[in-house]
Every structure is written in C-alpha cells, then in structure tokens.
Symmetry: C2
Subunit: 312 residues, 2 copies
Amino acid sequence: MAITVVGSVAFDSIETPAGKKDRCLGGAATHFSLAASFFTDVRVIAVVGEDFGPEQEAVFKKRNIDIQGIERAPGKSFFWEGSYLDNLNEAKTHITDLNVFASFEPKIPEAYRDSEFLFLANIDPVLQRRVRNEMPDVKLVAGDTMNYWIKDHRPALLQMLKGLDILLINDTEARMLAGNNNLVQAARGVLNLGPHTLVVKHGEYGATAFFSRNSFAPKGEGLEPHPFRAPALPLEEVVDPTGAGDSFAGGFFGYLASQRELTPATFRRAMFYGSVMGSYAVERFGTERIQALTRKEIDDRFILFRELTHLD
Amino acid sequence: MAITVVGSVAFDSIETPAGKKDRCLGGAATHFSLAASFFTDVRVIAVVGEDFGPEQEAVFKKRNIDIQGIERAPGKSFFWEGSYLDNLNEAKTHITDLNVFASFEPKIPEAYRDSEFLFLANIDPVLQRRVRNEMPDVKLVAGDTMNYWIKDHRPALLQMLKGLDILLINDTEARMLAGNNNLVQAARGVLNLGPHTLVVKHGEYGATAFFSRNSFAPKGEGLEPHPFRAPALPLEEVVDPTGAGDSFAGGFFGYLASQRELTPATFRRAMFYGSVMGSYAVERFGTERIQALTRKEIDDRFILFRELTHLD
C-alpha cells in the first residue's frame, strides 16, 4: 500500500569527523522516502526552489518515488548547514535558510488521495495537522517532530498529536514532550497525548516502542502490551548521522505499509527494518549509501540484527 | 562449578531521588556474590572491620555463600557515601573511607582452590593480578575495573588485563581505556590488551559483548564473531543504581559457571541473566531486592527480556 509523506526536501552542507560535503540532497522527506521506497510505493509532498534540478529529481525517480507533489517555487530550496565535530549524536546548526519553505502550503495531488499510509515528517505541526485532516481515510498515520516545536509551538503540536497513530522521536524529545526524565513514565505521558504507539530512537543504542494498547494485536487480546526494543548496529565508523532518524522511519513505516496485516510480529519486524535503514544511512554522507543500497543488503543486515539480539 | 570472587564488602550511604539509606550492606563482591548465588556456589575473598556483624553475615549465609575468605580486621569496614540526585547514571561520591581495605592482602582459603571460575571485582589491579596468579588453573577469569584505575594505575591495570578472559566495564570506561570514542574501535583496542571477550554495559540501554575470537564456539568455527546485545528493562522507577553493574556481572558469570559447556548460546543466555539481575538490583536500595528475589522471578523476567527483543 502506498505511503504519502509530507516534509522537507532540502540541500545540506555537513561537516563530520569523516569530512565535509557541500549541498548534499537532504531533508526529512527525502531520507524517509528513499528508505521507504525499498518496501512500498512512496509519494512526496514538499516544496523546492529553482536550484532543485534534474540531478535531484533523478534520485527520486530512480527509486520510483512519485514526486508530482513536489512543488516548484521561485527562489531557493530549504538549506541547512551543520556539523557533528564535537558530538556525532547531536548536530550543531550553523545556518538554517528556510527559503521557499517559509511559505510552504502543502497541496495534495489527486493521485495521492488513495494512499493508505501517511507520514508527517518533521515540519510545522500546523501543516502536519492540515495534511492529516485532508486525508481522513488513511489507515495509519505516523509522524515525527523536534525540540523546536516541543518548546515553542506546544499548543499546535498537541493538536497535531491527537491525529497520530504512531509518533517517532528521540529520547531527549520524548522526555521534553512529557516533562519527565524517566523514559517509561515519559512514554506513558506521550501516549496520553494521542498516539497509541511511541517509538523512541536511542541513536547507537537502537529504539524502543511503547504502546498504550494492543494496537497491533488481533482483536480480543486484552493484555497490557510490553515494550519492544530493536538494536542498532555497533558501527566502526559513522560518516554522517544526518537523516538516520528519517531513514529509520522510512524503513519502519515502509515495511508496515508493505504488509497485508498489521500484527505484533509485523510491527517488530518493522522496527528491525527501521534499524537496518538507519544503520546504512550513516555509512556515507547524505543519501549516498541509501541510493546505492540493494534489497539483498537490507535482508543480510536484517539477519545480522537477528543474530545480534536473539538467543537462538 | 564454583566461583571465587575477590572484591569489596562495604557499607554504603546512598541518596537518590527515591530517598536516602544509611550504611546499607554494599561493595562489589557483595552485589556480585548475591546475584551469582542464584546460579552456582560462590566463595568470597574480602576484608571487613569490626562493624561487620552477624546481621551482615546472615545475608551471605542465607544465600549459601561461602564467606570463610572474608577476613576480619581491627577497625572499620570500607565505607562509601554518594548520591545520584542529579543523574541516575552516575554516582557523585561524597566520602570514600577505605578503612581496613587500605591494607587489604587477599588470602585464598584452601577450600577455594578448586574453584573453576574466578571473578576479580573492581579493586586495585595489583591485587586482582595477585589473586589471578595464585589461581592459575581456573577455567575462566572475568573482571571489572573503573575510571580511577584506568587513569592513574594504567601499567598495573594493563598487567592485570593480560590474565583476564572476560572484562566487564561500562561505555565510558571502554572508551577511556582504549582512548577511542567509537565503541567498536574501542572494543577492538581493549580486546588487544588481553581479554578475548569484552562486555560493555550501557546502563538503561543494556549491554553489548564483543569478541576477539570465537571463544565460546565449538572448535573449528572460524568465522569472525559478531557482537551480541542484551537489552535492559525500561523501568518505571530506578530506586538505587548502586551495584547494578556488579549484579549484572553476578548473573552473567553465575549462569556461565552453572553450565556444563560454554557455547555461543550459553554466552547469550548469560548476557540476558546479567541484564535480569541488574534490572532487579535497582528496584530497591542496596541489596534489598536481590535478597528478596526468587528463582521464579528471575525466570519470569528472562522470558520478558526475550519478548522485549525477539521477533517471534
């Protein structure tokens, strides 16, 4: 089943201990859709400027991603410059030029309206909510957000969260959103805000899913669901962490959308596929590694993740 | 098979967000031996002062732990006072009174000499090495250390590491010991110092084992072994983190010692039992929770850990 994703398509200039790259193709919707495209059909809603040309288009088209929802506007695309020189787990932002993104008004192409899965990548929660409300019939809605919206746009964020099934954020964001330093208590707090499932990403330590109910269990199973933890791969070198979380989300949601039935087993496998895509994403700058990825590599790493965590 | 453990038996005064306890029974050898005692016979080598009385003895005896190697010396037992008010992951030390521990000279009782497993809890690496050399015929030697020895007693520590099969330390210690911030590279560095197996404890994110060779595989299996990651339980409340690492080590090494054969499967289960014991240890102050633990609770949580991480 097809996923529609709304979010940023951007250019990133990135410096890490491994080197420096200027104006890579980036943005949350880009990383998400490339990762998800290995599992299902993906349709993107975004806005870009005149600097987005055939070279960038080709990256999406090669993965059969539908980009009729990427609007062209006069001016420049969203541009971000940051570095990870001190800390690979946290970017230091040098420049954020919203450019054409400052006046982004998401428009949903007719051809996207039968999408059964919707992903609201990290943008203004007012826009996330608008898109969600315009697609009332989707089967499953997941989304992301960040510290900026949690701190300074809380009322709009809380409205948006009411329309989400699954929220994917990192530890710091979960604790900040719930105002609680204990992760289990924070998770319960977040689950009270709308989503029935919270996926907390721990960077190099993997990710944990918390549930408010047995959302993915056959009807009638009434037991309190316990969390599920997917590992991350201990990596020799992290070249560029940019987009790791979005690639996780793409692998996770892409796999879910590819399945006929949503069950607890499907959900757990989706968490593993999220970790697989996140682990590949950081191996090279920007989207380079995911662009070059094969389905066999995905399956091989999935098996490795099983061996990394399973008793037998 | 029996484990001999050498390390501290102490009194701890601890303050955490959950409250304050004065002069709990503590020390690495205490936490280790209580946890290990659920799996195999445990024999302790330590020194205590005149303040160690029948009440403290009874804690060991109730778990059938052999304490003939706990020497009584004139003066007071090792005393530590610390708090976790700012950060549950790192203790702030207020007082360390070595007392009788300052002149500790480990003596190995004759009855301990047929122990097949040896655990060198976190003490002066000179003493760890001496005990290890006096028990040359043990089947498996594991040990722990801490930042203080890594920073200020490096030559002695490096000597000691040559006699270890398994080193258990936390992320910060592994990175400090190898002088490398990347965990995989740090692990390789540590494995070059002696131990064939390194277990890195990640606190609330579990623990990862790295191997320099297939130490636990049947002979002839020549593949480069991949790491193994055991989860930690996401906990609603951490009452007191003191001794969590030693309890992990006790569950881990105790389970290994209880098995007829050391195989990769045995090793993985040992990692899970380590996590189980660590997760129980933090639920109450000092050794309270482990003292009250039952084998059924251990097995129930083992099953929960499997459900927390396994795809099927």
